[in-house]
Structures are given as structure tokens and as C-alpha cells.
């Protein structure tokens, strides 16, 4: 069983996201350690991309700040290597197809394995295009994590049947970002997923408050939060890790109930 699947075994999971290098890698490292200490089950590490078409303004901002600071894919691999000296929870890359393709899919997946990355999420690689990436990630034992959206309908079973690691259930239409209300019937989507795979599923997009995380985790296996964490970085900069730790603690407590 993959480390990612194991991370869901001790109850509902909380999965925070952070963009590597926003505002710098030292801050990202501190934040990831705070996340682990405060109960994060998996951390999603964003490799910034110049034109992140699936992101709302908050994470777009993080991408721009990180790239302006001179972040590169190679620097992020070195950073993960350093992080892996003490961080034990599964780490998953979230980035865009061109970042992986341009680095060389084989070279990228091989570096993932060397440095201790457990999975990759590519929001612009749907089921129909995944073979090019997944055929390689599989060889290196890296989980290729699929997304299911509110509009997936008749596609849910097909995607779920080939799931690896966990399934990322997109809560709402549109891009990433904090939402006051999530109207999609997640329970119905999860029901179809469960009929087709044993892989756990976590819900992301739009979640920021403990009540939302609790509600989403109640009908799935966990909650994913990105923009709310990036907002803490916007607000506190290099001092953000402590606040992120407190936030993760509160959110983890919420999903467990």
C-alpha cells in the first residue's frame, strides 16, 4: 500500500497546500514542519507555474511571488531532499503539465523518487491525457492523483477505477479560492467513487473554515485547504509558519469530529 493511502488509515485526513518559495524556501520549510507537528496527514507542495489556469487570485499571487524570488524546479527538489531529513508524512507535488513535461517526465519522476515525493497532482492533465505521465510515474512508485469535479457525472466511475493514492474531489465549479458556501452534493459523488475504488477521497477548492472542513470530511475521507494558508503567508510573510501551525491544528481537530 502506498504511503498516501496509509495516511488515511488513522481517520479523516487534513491536507494543507503550500506554494514552494512563497516568500522563500526557508519559510516554506518551517511551515511544512509546523503542518506536520500540528497533525497534517499529507502536505501538497506547489511548484509554481507562470500561468496557473486552475488557480484563483490568491494562489496565482503565490506563484508570481515565488517565481519572482527565483524559484526553480531544481531548487525545489533540493529543498525536498533537505525536508526529508526529518519530515515523515507523505509529500505530494501539485503543479502544471508543462513544468513536468519541460523537465522531462522521466527525469522528473526519478527525482521525485530520489527526494521522497509520494505523488503528483496535475490539474491540467485529465483522464484522457494521463497515460503519458502515469506510465512513467508508476515505474518510479509515484502515485498519479486524479481529480473528480462537480461536472464529472458519467466520468466518475472511469476515473475512480484507475485511481492511485487518493482522489481529489473538486468541491465547486471554477478555480481555487475561498468560498463562503459549497453547494455541490459531495455525498453523491463520493458514493459513486466508493462503488468503483478503495482509494480514499479528499475534498478541496473553497474550504477555509473548520465547519466547512468538518462537513466535507464527514462525507469523504478528508479535506484539502490551499488559499486560506496562502492568505496567512500574504498577511504574515516570514512569520506565517506559527500561524499556519495553529490553523492546521484547528482544522485537523475539526475534520476528526
Amino acid at each position: 500500500m502506498s504511503n498516501i493511502k496509509k495516511a488515511f488509515e488513522s481517520g479523516k485526513a487534513f491536507i494543507p497546500f503550500i506554494t514552494c518559495g512563497d516568500p522563500d524556501l526557508e519559510t516554506t520549510a518551517k511551515a511544512v514542519r509546523e503542518m506536520e507537528k500540528n497533525g497534517a496527514d499529507i502536505v501538497e507542495l506547489g511548484i509554481p507555474f507562470s500561468d496557473p489556469t486552475a488557480e484563483g487570485p490568491v494562489i496565482q499571487g503565490a506563484n508570481i511571488r515565488a517565481l519572482a524570488g527565483g524559484i526553480t524546479t531544481d531548487k525545489i527538489f533540493e529543498f525536498v531532499c533537505e525536508l526529508r531529513k526529518d519530515v515523515k508524512i507523505p509529500l505530494v507535488f501539485m503543479t502544471y503539465a508543462n513544468v513536468v513535461f519541460s523537465y522531462g517526465i522521466e527525469r522528473f519522476m526519478s527525482r521525485c523518487r530520489e527526494t521522497g515525493i509520494d505523488g503528483v497532482i496535475l490539474p491540467d492533465v485529465p483522464f484522457e491525457e494521463k497515460a503519458e505521465f502515469q506510465s512513467v510515474s508508476k515505474q518510479y512508485g509515484i502515485d498519479f492523483i486524479s481529480l473528480i469535479a462537480p461536472t464529472s457525472n458519467d466520468r466518475i466511475a472511469m476515473i475512480a477505477k484507475e485511481a492511485e493514492g487518493f482522489i481529489y474531489v473538486v468541491s465547486s465549479l471554477g478555480v481555487t479560492g475561498v468560498r463562503s458556501e459549497i453547494t455541490t452534493n459531495i455525498g453523491d459523488i463520493v458514493k459513486v467513487i466508493r462503488e468503483n475504488t478503495s482509494a480514499p477521497c479528499a475534498v478541496g477548492f473553497g474550504i477555509s473554515k473548520p465547519e466547512q472542513a468538518k462537513a466535507m470530511a464527514a462525507v469523504s475521507d478528508g479535506a484539502i485547504v490551499g488559499s486560506a494558508i496562502i492568505r496567512l503567508l500574504e498577511q504574515y510573510g516570514k512569520d506565517a509558519p506559527t500561524y499556519i501551525g495553529e490553523y492546521v491544528h484547528e482544522m485537523k481537530k475539526a475534520v476528526l469530529f
Binding site: 507555474f49 500561468d51 489556469t53 461536472t151 465549479l173 471554477g174
Partner: protein, 396 residues
Amino acid sequence: MTNSKGRFGVHGGQYIPETLMNAVTELEQAYEYYKNDPEFNKELTDLLNNYAGRPSLLYYAEKMTKDLGGAKIYLKREDLNHTGSHKINNVLGQALLAKKMGKTRLIAETGAGQHGVATATAAALLDMECVVFMGEEDTKRQALNVYRMKLLGSKVVPVTTGTATLKDAVSEAMREWTSRIDDTHYCLGSVMGPHPFPTIVRDFQAVISRESREQILKAEGRLPDAVIACVGGGSNAIGSFYHYINDKNVRLIGCEAAGRGIDTFETAATVNTGRLGIFHGMKSYFCQDEYGQIAPVYSISAGLDYPGVGPEHAYLHDIGRAEYVPITDDEAVNAFEYLSRTEGIIPAIESAHAVAYACKLAPTLDKDKILIITVSGRGDKDCAAIARYRGENIYE
């Protein structure tokens, strides 16, 4: 890659968020049905002929031919279409298709504003709501077109992210589409993006070469030796090339915007300076850095100022069927002025890139050779910017 659709060699595909997959599948199915539907085709032909003013002229540029002293030059006059460019060919097709699909709202990206104006026009005619995304930088370069879109009843959203140009307008339109799919059709303006857009847009633009082939056969009794068109995303070029692709003796030449030169960073010549990548839903050539970050491209022409190229062009380049040549700002501006002075035709600065290459090529060819240049749009929108380029301080 057994599941992948819409490939041109290795290029194309559907690299988009899962949220949009059913929407593009629905579009593909609707298009496959309506493209063979006599009623749909009758309505579209009626709009093209009686509203957009097709067929467009194939004009023999006699003065230019004599002046250059080589090949005989014909101009395919897409600038004479209603709204002033080839963009209307695709927009009428897509808007009609969207309407048949039950959509009530169109969204679009625009660079120079020509596609935005065409979409706003079709929306007005067909009683649809319309929102156009335009880079803030371009709303300044093309202020008149912003006003035209508003006049036509559309909302124009200035995009401030990234380089605030065409690529950012495309990103923002894609983001908008993922948040509102049910009633909204994304009327993509070029032969790019995820399948089925490169095919749909090509088919609607292919009217250019369908007409020009008949027209040149009638005028000269034979096919041209070369067809020349400018390439940003590549819609007027693919439309100009399409019905000649199987005629191996017809050279197909796409003119890319080199900006300040392909040896500088201020260029948008994708085939000449880019490499294979995945962006905006497709695999194709893109201007990018070593880590795959998309490059901030530059051209005097807002319509060619895009870091990628349509997947079918990338394929035609790979197999050596079409040539892609870089044309600098300076060369394009000279050609803009040259065609105005010589033939009394003011071309769009985009189209001037094609004119510029013809000016280089024609004198090297014998007088019995024939060139067709696609004048993809009219240049009124560019006059103020070109005047400023020449140091004349005029404002629209």
C-alpha cells in the same frame, strides 16, 4: 496515449481541468452533428454571405506586382469582411453552434480586439450575452476596439494578471469557463486550445482557401506557387492553407511576429524560438524558459503577441509541409506603409507581417509565379499606434 483526442502528430490533445472535460465533449458531439446538418450549414452560409459579405475578393495587386518586379501578387481580402477581419468567419460558426446547443452566453479572449469585436457582433445579432477578456495592456493599445465592443452591448473585462496581454486573456477566459459552463460557450478565437477547438476553428476559417482556390483557378487557370499569411495562434493562416495542403507544389508560408528580432527576448516567433510544451489545453511549440515557465513575449502587433502556436501549424512545421518565417516590427511597419501607399489598402499590422515577407519573396521569383497573400484584417485600428511608432504624437 490511447485515449487522447484531437492530435496533429504529437501536438494537440486536451490538457484541461477535469471540470471542463464534459463541456468539451459536449461541444465535440454537437459539432460532429451540426457540421453535417444541412439546415445548420444553410444558416451559416446565409450569415456569411448576407451578413459578413462573403465571398471576400481575391484582388490582383498590379501596382505592387510591377513595383516588386517578380511574382504576380494576389491579395485575399479578409479585411473587407464585416467587422474588418477574418475573425467573423469563425465567430459566426461558433455562435450559431452555441445557440443550437442551447447556450445563451458567449465569452471570448481578444488580443488586438478583432476577435472580441467579432464575438460582440455575433452576440448582438443572435441575442446572446457576451463577455470579452482583454489584457489591460491591449485595452490601452486598442482603446477603439474596447469602445466598439461596449457599443455592441458586450462587457469587456481588462485582465491584469501576468503580462496583461493575449495569453493572460486566454487564461482568464478559461478560468471563467470553469466557473460557468451550463449557459456559457467559450468562443475561442484561434486554432488553439484543447480539442475540438483547433479543428472547429480551422473548419470555419477554411472558407478562406475554399474561395481563394476557386478564385485563382478562375483568374489564372492554375494554383498559386505560394500562399502567405501571418501566424499568431494561426487561424487565418490555417484557413488560408487548408485547401492547398494536399497540393504539394503550393508553398505554404506562415509569418511569425519576431518583434525586435528572434535573437532578442522581445519576440513572439514561436516556431522559430520556442520548443515543445503543454499549455492552454494543447501540446505544441511555446516560448518558454528551461523550466517550462511561459515566456513574456513581445510584438508590436497585439494579435500576434502570443507565446504559442496552434497544434496543426506545429505539425505542418514538423513534417515540412509549411514554412514559418520571422518578421520584425520594423519590417511589418514598413509593409503596413508600403501597401497603403502602393495599393491604397491599409492592412492590419498583423497582416502586414505577411505583406512584408511577400515583399522579400516576390522579387526573387520569376514573373510567371503567383503568390496569394491573406490580408487578414484592416488596419484602421492600428493607425494611431503606427503613427506613434514613427514618432507622431497622435491619439485616437
